[in-house]
């Protein structure tokens, strides 16, 4: 072990936190984290109850076109150029954003964890190849890669989730690899080897749980990033044409930017608030898992 004191080296050291405080204590002790959880819970609730709150297709014409918010209380957030209810679109859009955000992050996490764990654990030439492979993916602009993958498949929810997941795994792979490289030298891994456990068991049952905390922090940021990417893709008309999403609403509202800017503003605001909630949660988790930062 060399004594390197650069901040990056310190940050790369394994963080094995002991979370003594439960979730309730965390919610009380950290108001911004609680605020994030609250916002996300509301968005979730709206997404789940969308069909009950706004029965009928959000793409149906229901009222006069281009009503401003609060002009007609039947459509509290106004209507777009085709007379579709903006409030209904926002609530159904929450569904799309949450589904894609969480499933894309799960796909990215799965690929990244697998690549990082195998490379970091086995090391050697295998690790070298995987690192090169990861770097290869990192030099291609992730958004462009997602666009290409959606073009290969079809503009559907699952293809978009896969595309965003594939475009976002390298950062997780790097993180997990660094964790595994330092954790595999620790005594408990030595003990597991001594007991004759298989490599698969050591990787997934012994090391992985210890490597997860910083990955969890990154995961909430990944969900946020996936939602932002989805918004960008649907803004460019690469989303599912049969579903209303925040990005497609921004894209359609853009044509009336000069006259009815609320059509662009509202879905963007919804995206920003949801992503903000996820980032607040990420910051809260980070504070729990990196106790060094807590003292200030």
């Amino acid at each position: 072990m060399s004594l390197d004191t650069t901040p990056s080296a310190v940050a790369a050291a394994p963080v094995i936190p002991k979370v003594r405080r439960g979730l309730p204590a965390l919610l009380i002790g950290n108001p911004t984290f609680a605020f994030g959880v609250l916002i996300l819970a509301v968005v979730f609730l709206l997404a789940i109850t969308a069909g009950w709150l706004f029965p009928g297709d959000p793409q149906d014409m229901v009222g006069m076109p281009l009503l401003w918010p609060f002009q007609d209380m039947a459509y509290p957030l106004g209507t777009d150029s085709l007379g579709r209810d903006v409030a209904s679109g926002l609530v159904y859009g929450a569904r799309v954003s949450l589904i894609i955000g969480f499933s894309a992050a799960a796909i990215g996490l799965a690929i990244g964890t697998l690549v990082g764990a195998i490379g970091g654990y086995y090391g050697g030439i295998f690790d070298n190849i995987l690192v090169r492979f990861t770097e290869l993916f990192q030099t291609v602009p992730p958004f462009l890669l997602a666009v290409v993958i959606v073009a290969i498949g079809e503009p559907s929810l699952s293809v978009m989730a896969i595309a965003i997941g594939i475009a976002s795994w390298p950062q997780i792979a790097r993180l997990v690899r660094a964790q595994f490289r330092s954790l595999k030298e620790q005594d408990f891994v030595m003990a597991a080897r001594g007991l004759g456990y298989s490599n698969a068991r050591i990787i997934f049952i012994e090391i992985l749980p210890n490597a997860l905390p910083p990955v969890l922090v990154t995961a909430s940021v990944m969900v946020a990033g996936a939602i932002l990417t989805e918004t960008g893709l649907s803004f460019l008309n690469m989303g599912d044409p049969n579903l209303v999403s925040w990005g497609s609403m921004i894209g359609e509202g853009r044509d009336q930017l000069r006259t009815a800017w609320f059509l662009t503003a509202l879905p963007g605001l919804a995206t920003a608030i949801t992503v903000l909630a996820l980032n607040l949660i990420g910051d809260g988790l980070n504070e729990v898992f990196n106790p060094r930062m807590r003292q200030r």
Partner: protein
């Protein structure tokens, strides 16, 4: 002198490493693009309204689309080795000339967004760390969190509403005023005014990334022993903060800046669409829509190339910031 030799070694090492990466990118992207249903012949035929099977086959034969994939890949690599990016069936011109017409605009946009995000981000981060846990820190943290969470292109659209539609200060699209024949200062001012909104729109997210990173890195460095030594020496607070704390906190920031370049290029696609900016991102999007794979491959290759080159610059910056970092 040592810095020069170290610089040389870093450049040589990176160049050697870049060769397999570039070949890997070409092969990966080539195979990926072959998975896309449809080809340029389909799109050309579709746009002309009618096509016989013979004319489709003629188009495919002319552009070599009827050959086995491995032969097509071999052809592409052969041409690439001769610095040719191929020919675009759709635009009826060479891919290199298409990209070269767009590249300066994308580089200009990227460069200004990169500089803006680093300068403002580091400044914000330093201020936040200096006032840590006091009201200026809280206030700036909120602002930074908004930049971090809102889609950049949406902030750009909102900026159009405010600065172009309501106030009429800045143009809302294009890279320069069409038809205006400006010279000298007027020319520069016209281009700058067109550049402001797109580059801020692209930079917002990265301003937030670097501000957050600078703040936490500076707070981390502040706790280390050599800072206590500096304080004990009686150095002024300002000197300690700028020279010792910020100087050391910059290393993770520049690392991140290098890693984020690909994201910056990707974000440019949306921003270029919003602002009608004639850059590579929109070319790539058009190429995807029209199945013009030679153009798309060229754009992918060139953007990877830009990322690799700027990462070399970041490596050099590291060697200068921290002499302990040697070319390994």
């Amino acid at each position: 002198m040592r810095l020069v030799s170290r610089t040389g070694r870093t450049v040589v090492r990176t160049l050697i490493q870049a060769v397999p990466t570039v070949i890997g990118i070409v092969v990966l992207n080539f195979l990926l693009l072959k998975l896309v249903p449809g080809d340029a012949a389909d799109v050309i035929a579709g746009e002309s309204g009618s096509a016989t099977a013979q004319s489709m086959a003629a188009i495919r034969h002319r552009f070599g689309l009827d050959q086995p994939i491995i032969v097509q890949l071999g052809n592409y690599l052969y041409h690439l080795a001769h610095f040719s990016l191929g020919y675009s069936p759709r635009y009826n011109t060479s891919v290199a000339s298409l990209i070269m017409a767009r590249l300066p605009f994308t580089l200009l946009l990227m460069f200004s967004a990169f500089v803006l995000s680093l300068a403002i981000g580091i400044f914000f981060g330093a201020m936040m760390s200096f006032f840590a846990r006091r009201w200026p820190d809280r206030l700036m943290s909120v602002l930074v969190l908004i930049f971090y969470s809102a889609p950049g292109f949406w902030l750009g659209l909102m900026a159009i509403v405010l600065f172009s539609v309501k106030l009429g200060w800045l143009p809302s699209s294009g890279a320069s005023t069409i038809g205006a024949n400006y010279h000298g200062w007027q020319f520069l001012a016209d281009h700058l005014s067109h550049l402001i909104l797109p580059s801020f729109s692209l930079a917002f997210f990265f301003i937030a990334v670097y501000a957050r990173l600078t703040r936490s890195a500076m707070l981390e460095v502040e706790r280390q022993d050599f800072i206590r030594t500096a304080q004990a020496k009686g150095l002024r607070d300002w000197t300690i903060q700028t020279k010792h704390v910020l100087g050391n906190a910059l290393i993770p920031v520049t690392t991140m800046a290098g890693l984020n370049l690909g994201h910056l290029l990707g974000g440019a696609i949306v921003v270029e669409t919003v602002f009608g900016w004639p850059g590579m991102g929109r070319l790539a999007l058009d190429a995807v829509m029209s199945r013009d794979f030679n153009v798309l491959l060229g754009v992918l290759l060139l953007s990877s190339f830009v990322v690799i080159v700027v990462n070399v610059i970041v490596d050099l910056l590291h060697a200068w910031l921290d002499p302990r970092i040697e070319a390994e």
